[in-house]
């Protein structure tokens, strides 16, 4: 077990443990804060995979944006303390069966895939090549993304606007 593996298991442990807390927390605010560590662990895993751009996006958008939005959403609810969130277990047997099938599928896939691992390689930054494809090959997608964001922006403003505003 080298250093890389140790770091990987550290981040994996952070992700899984905090995800478990998200699911099981009785207080919705604790669940939202625990989600912070899940996102953080996932971004660490991205870094280990050499996907530096995705990792930074994960930190910027998910931790910096979506989690803040989620916390605002929680705090905007009328009576947080009396919200009865369902954290119990229901339908255990079907869940175990489905998870078992899914896990078997994943593990089978894991062993049957030929992994092109090259751990000694120093990761190169991916942002520049990403930009090159955005301007050449995927330029239409880049512009469509702008329109998608425009739609999202107008939609969000329209929905969130208070009734009675113009």
């Amino acid at each position: 077990m080298n250093l890389y593996d140790i770091i990987f298991y550290l981040f994996a442990a952070i992700t899984i443990v905090s995800a478990f807390i998200v699911v099981n927390a009785k207080n919705i605010v604790y669940a939202a804060f625990s989600l912070l560590f899940t996102f953080f662990g996932v971004s660490g895993l991205y870094v280990l995979l050499g996907a530096d751009f995705i990792a930074i996006v994960q930190v910027m958008v998910y931790i910096g944006g979506i989690l803040v939005l989620l916390l605002f959403g929680v705090m905007l609810t009328h009576k947080i303390t009396s919200v009865d969130i369902k954290a119990g277990s229901v339908q255990t047997i079907p869940a175990v069966i489905i998870i078992g099938i899914f896990a078997a599928l994943l593990i089978g896939l894991m062993y049957s895939t030929h992994w092109a691992v090259n751990p000694a390689e120093i990761p190169v930054t991916t942002t520049k090549s990403l930009g090159k494809t955005l301007v050449t090959e995927y330029v239409l997608i880049f512009e469509l993304l702008g329109i998608l964001l425009l739609v999202a922006m107008i939609g969000a403003a329209t929905i969130a606007r208070r009734d009675g505003d113009k």
Binding site: V61, G65, V68, L69, G131, I154, A157
Partner: protein, 149 residues
């Protein structure tokens, strides 16, 4: 030897270790004599009133929503900004169209007043007239008229 992310990782470890060591050392050293007053929630010396869970203004949510949109926009601009010079005018136009489309949204929200903070309306103080005036004033408001009659 260390990559750039390796340095960040060392930084994370040091930060976590610093907090852990400071808290553990403090809990070992400090005397522990809690009283009822000491365990109270600290609220600038006042007695805490009500629940700390208050409803936030909906405006925060709107601002956060708009922030996320522009967050994603900035994220998409990073790779473009690194390479657009290699493509000359074409690269510039690609980014300009992207920005223009999002500027439309910005202009829309600005015009519609979504970026404005909802201010409380300033109303001049009203006097609640209870006494009957000796000489009936000019009947300006209907309420005054009915009171006089």
């Amino acid at each position: 030897m260390l990559t750039e992310f390796g340095k960040i990782f060392v930084f994370i470890l040091l930060a976590g270790g610093f907090v852990a060591i400071a808290l553990v050392a403090a809990s070992l050293i400090r005397p522990k004599r809690p009283t009822k007053e000491k365990l109270k929630t600290y609220e600038c010396g006042e007695d805490p009133v009500g629940s700390p869970w208050v409803r936030f203004n909906i405006r925060f949510y709107v601002v956060a929503l708009i922030f996320i949109i522009f967050d994603v926009e900035v994220v998409m601009l990073f790779p473009w900004a690194l390479v657009y010079k290699n493509f000359g005018v074409y690269g510039f136009i690609v980014g300009a169209i992207f920005l223009l489309v999002l500027f439309l949204g910005m202009a829309y929200e600005w015009r519609k007043g979504d970026l404005e903070w909802a201010r409380p309306k300033i109303e001049p103080p009203k006097m609640d007239i209870k006494f009957k005036p000796e000489i009936a004033p000019r009947p300006v408001e209907e309420k005054t008229v009915s009171e006089v009659e």
